[in-house]
Structure formats: C-alpha cells, structure tokens
C-alpha cells in the first residue's frame, strides 16, 4: 500500500491508439479503496479499451496504471475482470468454474474448493455446485461468473456490462445482490453499463466518457444515501441526476451505428 | 548344433502349394539334417521378391523366371540357381466343355494379369492365331479371372494350369478346357526358379548348395507322398488355406518338376527362350548371354 492514501487505482495520462485511431486520449482517474465507480458512454468511446488497459490485456501506448502504487500496465492477472458474456466453461461444474482461477495458476486445492463452496452456499447457489453451466439460467450463470471473479481474490474488480444480457427483473435482483456482496467483501468496483438507471443506482461516482477520441467528459458524485431501495429510481433526486446524465450523453449523440440516416428523422433535444 | 539361418522369400503374398517342397523339408527335418534353419517370408506384393533380396530381407528367392531377365536388364546382380518347374504350363483356359479355339480368337475378351509373364506369352498365342493385339480385348482381371470366366464376363482366362485347376476343380467339380505352352505357340520354358543375389551366392556357396539339396529331397518326398505333403504345408502354414485347393494344385505341379536331366537343372536353351520372349515384346532391350542369367554351379 504505497500509493496515495486511500487510492486503490490511479490512472495517469493514459493514451491508447489502435493504429492511427486514438481510442483513449489522456485519461486520468483515481479510484478510492472500496469505491463503486460506474462508467457510462456511447458505444465505441473506449470503455472496454480502458478496462483492457487496466487489466493488462492491452499494451498501452502511453501513461501509467498504478494499483496500490505499483505499475500494472501490461501485467494480466492483477485485477478481477468480468464481461457481459459469462464465459463459463461448459465442461466444468459450477464448483469447477468458481475455482477456475486457482486451477489455472497452481491447481485447485481442497481449501480452494471449500472456499468456493462456502461462497456458493452463502450466495444462494449451494444446491448447484455439481451442476454444469448448461442447466443454469442466465442470471445464475452471471452469478457464477461473478463468484469466479471474487474467488480469484483480487481487490479491484472490473465489471464490463455484466448484466447487459439479462432481462430487467433479473437485472434488478442482480444489482441488489452485487451491492450486498460489495458491502460484505469490501472490494473496489469499476462497472461499465449503458443503462443510465443502473449506473446511478449502483455508483458512488458516475464517470461519463465521450467518443472520438475516447476521453472522460464528466464525473458526477451520486449522493443518494445507501442502502438504496428500488423505488429511489423515481425519486426527484434520482430523476434530476438522470436528466443531467442523459443530457451529457445525448447532447453529443449522433445516430451511432446508423450510418447514412437522414438527420431529419431524428429528434435530438437542442 | 549351430544351424545356419537361411531365409526364403516367396513370390506371393501368402503361402500356397508351390511352397510344399520347402514346407516338407522343414517338417521332415531335411533342412535341419543339412545344418540349416530355414524360414520363409512373404513379400508385400507379387513383384517385390527381388527387391527384398536386394535390401537384405531374404537370402534365396522364389520367383517367376522373368524376374531374372528384368533384373539383369536393370543391372541388378541376381542369378537363377535352379529352375523350379521345367516346362511351360501356362496358356488359355475356357469354360468346361467349350474348347479353346484359336481360329475364333478374334474379337474375344481375354482376362490377363498385369505381370510380365502374361505380357511375354500373349504375342506367341496371337501369332499362332494369326491375329494382332488389336483383334482381341484384354481385360486386366488379376485374381478374379476364374469367376469372371465362369460368369461369362470374359471368354478366356490366362493362367498356369496348376493354379487354374486348383481354383476350379474343388469349386465346380469340373476342369476347364486348356491350351497350354507349345500347343498355344509358346516356347517351352520354365515358369519359376530359385534365385540369389550373386554376392550372397559367392559368400555362402555351401549353404546354398545344402539348401538346394535339402529342398530337392523335400520335392522328391512330396512327389511320392502328395497328401502328406499337403498336410505338412497346412500344418506349418495355416494361411495356405484350403486342403482341396492345395491338393489339386500340388498334383498338377508334380509333373512339371523333373526335367530330362533331373530336378532343378537349367540350360542355355531355356534362358535364351525366356530372354527372347521378353525382347520380342520389347520388355527388355537386348538378349544377354545365357550365363548372365543362371548358373548350375550350386547343384550337386
């Protein structure tokens, strides 16, 4: 813990180019220990690129990424990372998938399996330890994927649209479940989503990114008290934040992914 | 006692009745008495015997005499040390009761093998019939010639009498009609012989002599006791198959073995005939002196 006091992750002047295309432009961001940060932004603004950089999958073009003060750029295996696709291995049971991190590094010991079983019992999957992923529902699969990420034991977890493929009821359940885990486990979380409601509901801070080049536009502190119940989503404070965020997002909106569309066909608020 | 190891390389992928002299000599202990430990290997196909001698996978070869002439043409130092049969029993075969008639050969379908022997003999038959290659239809029938003949897919088969009889008699209890050797215009030359690479023969002259003598003993014994001989073959070589087949075949082979000068003895005339047959059909470029092909030096 040699970094700035209370700062878990420090991103300093991060730049990344794909060929001549600038995907991330001078991104700087500090994430506090135990903080829950949500990242919003149009498709293609570099959210996943940012996560790939922090996770070490990507060799960044310039800048620094400090975890507890140590540079982790280009070093995979230092942080937890979970994607929209659950990526469960169909040939491993729920237990086997949760202990995957141990199996891949040094072999899963009895202790790993016991810890994984505790986790599963505790968070409602105890009866499914011997099951193969194919017999699980989408929500259960995402929960296993999250447990796999937790069991890998990293203090910082990057979640890239983890609930994007779930229907809204399941999603709301999962959001509350995630908040419970976050509270009990005291991890630091960075969370990418396209859903403005979700971002505001979960976050301590919302980071709004802008495209071309990918960069940080605004950072909002969300001061809605915790624990948050679902009906806070229609509270005036929430709606006001949502209005601000949507203005940030769509004041910039082009019809992304819809090339050649007639501008006349679009109603964008002035 | 220390036995000298000798390996015979056969001419065919599996054993059959022509192996009887060797099988008998093994079973009756003639080789052992001569101080030999003889084993037999079978080639991957019916044209690899010489190559196996050349690569050291055999000491003595059993093969068609044409092999020797081809080997000489390719500069392979192979020599015939004894002929196995003394006369030409190959020719045309017809369905029972339908005599082979050269005067009506024109336009007929004749089943042939791809071997050089058939290729060398066909022109003689055609010459005698007064026609050319273009007047008949040659069907490459290989091993299925007799079934094809019997089912009238072909009009005549080419083969050697001992094999044709062995094929047909046990199956349909009837003999085919035949036109063999000189009767069909072909030279009366031997069909099979025993060979060695010259270097092996020179280095192991006594072994080769002893082997030939013991094999001849087997041949004589088997001629006198044909049924027991077949039994010996089947006992040592179960892959030789059917008893009736081998009995018929061996009985048809016996009359071919002994020439005017006894077993095994070869002559300039025989080898001249063979070489000319191949040269006439352009399978070899030139006829070499007979002594290039054979030697009687290992006979007793």
């Amino acid at each position: 813990m040699s970094g700035e006091a209370g700062v878990k992750l420090a991103i300093r002047n991060l730049n990344h180019n794909f060929g001549s295309f600038r995907a991330l432009n001078d991104v700087s961001l500090d994430i506090k220990d135990g903080e829950f940060v949500c990242i919003l932004g149009a498709s293609g603004c570099g959210k996943s690129t940012l996560f790939n950089a922090v996770s070490g999958l990507l060799t960044i073009s310039a800048g620094q990424i400090l975890l507890d003060g140590k540079n982790i750029a280009g070093k995979p295996g230092q942080v937890g990372y979970m994607l929209q696709k659950d990526l469960l291995l169909p040939w491993r049971t729920v237990l086997g998938n949760i202990t995957l991190g141990a199996s891949l590094t040094r072999g899963a010991h009895k202790a790993d399996r016991e810890k994984a079983a505790e986790l599963a019992y505790h968070y409602g999957l105890g009866d499914f330890l011997r099951h193969y992923p194919r017999s699980l529902s989408g929500g259960m699969r995402q929960r296993v994927a999250l447990m796999r990420t937790i069991a890998a034991g990293r203090e910082l977890m990057l979640l890239d649209e983890p609930f994007g493929a779930l229907d809204s009821q399941t999603r709301i359940g999962m959001q509350q479940w995630l908040l419970e885990i976050w509270r009990e486990m005291k991890r630091t979380v960075m969370f990418v989503t396209h859903d403005v409601d979700e971002a505001i509901f979960l976050a301590d801070r919302v980071v709004v990114m802008l495209p071309k080049p990918g960069r940080i536009g605004w950072i909002l502190d969300i001061e809605i008290p915790r624990p948050r119940a679902m009906d806070c989503m229609t509270s005036p404070a929430f709606v006001e934040i949502k209005r601000q965020v949507m203005e940030m997002l769509y004041s910039q909106a082009t019809l992304h992914g819809v090339p050649g569309a007639q501008p006349g066909g679009l109603k964008v608020p002035a | 006692a220390d036995l000298t190891k000798v390996t015979l390389t056969y001419d065919w992928v599996t054993p059959d009745f022509e192996l009887i002299p060797t099988a008998v000599a093994q079973a009756q202990g003639f080789y052992k008495d001569a101080g030999l430990d003889v084993s037999v290997v079978f080639p991957p196909n019916n044209s690899t015997t010489v190559r196996m001698l050349g690569s050291g996978a055999g000491d003595i070869g059993f093969d068609p005499v044409t092999d020797v002439a081809f080997a000489a043409a390719q500069g392979i130092p192979l020599v015939s040390i004894a002929v196995y049969s003394q006369s030409n029993n190959c020719g045309l075969f017809g369905r029972p009761g339908e005599p082979v008639d050269l005067s009506t050969l024109k336009g007929k379908k004749i089943g042939v093998y791809t071997d050089s022997w058939t290729k060398a003999m066909m022109p003689y038959i055609l010459k005698k019939a007064g026609i050319t290659e273009n007047d008949i239809e040659q069907i490459i029938a290989t091993d299925d010639d007799i079934p094809m003949l019997l089912t009238k897919k072909i009009d005549y088969a080419t083969n050697c009498a001992n094999y044709a009889l062995a094929d047909m008699v046990p199956t349909i209890k009837q003999e085919p009609t035949m036109l063999l050797g000189p009767a069909g215009g072909m030279p009366d030359v031997p069909v099979w012989d025993f060979t060695v690479m010259k270097a092996y023969g020179e280095a192991h002259a006594d072994t080769v002599k002893a082997w030939l003598a013991a094999t001849q003993k087997g041949m004589e014994w088997a001629t006198a006791h044909p049924d027991e001989a077949v039994a010996d073959l089947l006992k040592l070589y179960p892959a030789a198959g059917d008893k009736a087949y081998n009995t018929v075949g061996w009985n048809a082979t016996i009359p071919l073995l002994k020439g005017p000068n006894g077993y095994f003895v070869q002559s300039d005339a025989q080898w001249d005939g063979i070489a000319h047959a191949l040269a006439d059909t352009k399978q070899i470029d030139k006829v070499l002196p007979p002594a290039t092909y054979y030697t009687n030096a290992y006979l007793n």
């Binding site: 996770s55 999958l57 995979p76 295996g77 990372y81 994607l83 990526l87 291995l89 169909p90 040939w91 049971t93 086997g96 995957l100 991190g101 199996s103 891949l104 590094t105 072999g107 009895k110 399996r113 016991e114 079983a117 505790e118 986790l119 019992y121 505790h122 105890g126 009866d127 330890l129 011997r130 099951h131 193969y132 194919r134 017999s135 890998a152 009990e184 | 992928v13 599996t14 059959d16 290997v41 079978f42 080639p43 991957p44 196909n45 690899t48 196996m52 996978a57 299925d144 079934p147 019997l150 089912t151 094929d167 047909m168 199956t171 349909i172 179960p238 892959a239 198959g241 059917d242 087949y245």
Partner: protein, 280 residues
C-alpha cells in the same frame, strides 16, 4: 435434487436401430443375389458366409484377435499422433503452414502403393501395419482437432490470461476440452477406417495371419464363402470400434448429456458444515 433422464431406453432404441439396419443390409444382400442370379462362388448367400464363421470358430477367433490387435494398436498410435500433431500445429504457426500441405499430400498418396516400401524399410513385424493403420486414422483426427482448436472462443483464452493462467494449464483446462467434440468426430471417422488399414497392412506384410491374409488366400482359392465370412468379421470390427468410441465419448463428455457431474467425473463436492448463511 437433479433429475437425469434415464438413458436406458435411449440405449435400447439405438441398439434396436442398429439391429434393424443390419438386418436390412442382409436383406439387400439376398435381394442382389436374387436379382442378379449370381452363383454362390461369385457372391455367397449371407447364410453361407455366416456359416463359415461358425464352422471354424477357433480359426476365426484367432484371425479376428490378430486383426483386432493390429487395428487397436494402430488406432491408438494414429489417434495420439493426430492429437499431438494438431496441438503442435496449433501452437506453432509456421509448423502449421508447412505441415498442412504435407498432411493433404499424405492422404493423396494411394496408401496401397506405399505399403511395399514400408515393409522393405520396417520389416515384417507389427511396425508397418501400425504405420498403415495410423496413417489412415491420424488424418481425420488432426483435421478435426485443428479446426476445433482454431475455433476456441478467444474470450475464454483472454479470461484465462486475466486469471493469470499458465500456458500449459490454460491449454489443458480451456483449449483442449473446447475441442473435444471435433476430436471425437475425428476419432469416430478414424475408427471406421482403421480396419481397412489393418487389412491393407496384412496384405502387405503378413508374418502373422489375420482376417486380411485369410481373405486374400480365400479369394485366390475361390473360397468365396470364406471371403465374405472374413468380410463380415472385418466389418464387425469396424462397427464395433465405431460404437466403442461412441460409448467412450458418452462417458468422457458428461456435460453434453447430463445436468450434473457424475461421481466418476469429479462430481464430488466438499462437505459443507452448514447450509446456513455465514460470514465467509
């Protein structure tokens, strides 16, 4: 807790279908005989071919076991070689690019034609036969495993990297299981072909006699019933090998047919002191 459908009825249905299908083949065989009026020495009736087997049980048992062992060992060699080659090729791109044309070439060469040099080089033992069987078997295995390895989900590989997986462990835990489906497809095709390889091998280098050599002799001696008897046994070996692989596949990939891991497949879970909620 979990409800597995009993696979027993499924098996029974499969076995039944095979029996009906094979009966149909025999019927077709009889029909060909009736339609063509061919004599028994060209094609024997099924009864005669089966009769040969039962009239010579000791001999047929010995022949079958010889051919079966060649098929089996050659198959193992070919399958292992196929997997190893595929793995190396998948790992080292330059080997892949250079070896792929060689693989195609190996199958374009008529195997019947290369058998002779194999015997000359390797002698008469089991070796040339194993090589021929393996030569035939390895190809579908290599091709399928290569395809399988190439189509492994790239995100799963990235996941393994993110979890800090070592190269070897990632290979064993992620890549290899991912191509087990294609692997078994290749193994099944190879199993059908293996026995043909053994026959070619026996025809080429027969120091021990098996069904292939017997078939050749019987054919040369116009023992047609023997030829077809041997063919029935050879076919039975081929079908048996195929079905054997099908069964191995069933047990080796329980996640395709079952909801939960069977005990033989690491389905045991750590005992849990209590199912009550507790601090982890």
């Amino acid at each position: 807790m979990s409800h597995e459908p009993s696979p027993l009825r499924d098996y029974a249905r499969h076995v039944g279908l095979w029996i009906v299908a094979i009966a149909l083949i025999f019927v077709a065989w009889e029909l060909v005989l009736v339609a063509t009026g061919l004599p028994a020495y060209v094609i024997p009736p099924p009864g005669k071919a089966i009769g040969v087997i039962f009239d010579n049980i000791p001999l047929m048992t010995q022949l079958t076991s010889q051919t079966l062992s060649e098929t089996f060992y050659g198959y193992i060699v070919g399958a292992v070689l196929g997997v190893v080659l595929a793995v190396i090729m998948a790992q080292v791109p330059i080997v892949h690019r250079l070896l792929y044309p060689a693989l195609i070439t190996s199958q374009a060469v008529p195997i019947v034609a290369i058998a002779a040099p194999l015997v000359i080089i390797f002698g008469f033992g089991l070796t040339p036969k194993l090589i021929i069987v393996a030569w035939i078997v390895f190809f579908p295995v290599v091709v399928n495993v290569l395809d399988g390895l190439a189509s492994v989900d790239h995100d799963q590989i990235n996941l393994a990297r993110l979890l800090g997986g070592t190269r070897l462990r990632t290979f064993m835990i992620v890549r290899l299981p991912a191509c087990i489906g294609p692997l078994f497809s290749g193994l099944k095709i190879g199993a059908c072909y293996a026995v043909t390889g053994a026959v070619i091998g026996e025809w080429t280098a027969s120091s021990h006699i098996g069904l292939g050599t017997y078939l050749l002799t019987a054919n040369a001696q116009m023992n047609t019933a023997g030829v077809y008897g041997a063919m029935l046994l050879l076919t039975a070996i081929g079908i048996g090998s195929f079905l054997f692989v099908v069964i191995v596949e069933h047990f080796a990939t329980p996640w395709r047919t079952r909801m939960t891991a069977p005990a033989y497949f690491g389905g045991n879970i750590p005992p849990h002191a209590s199912t009550q909620k507790q601090k982890v």
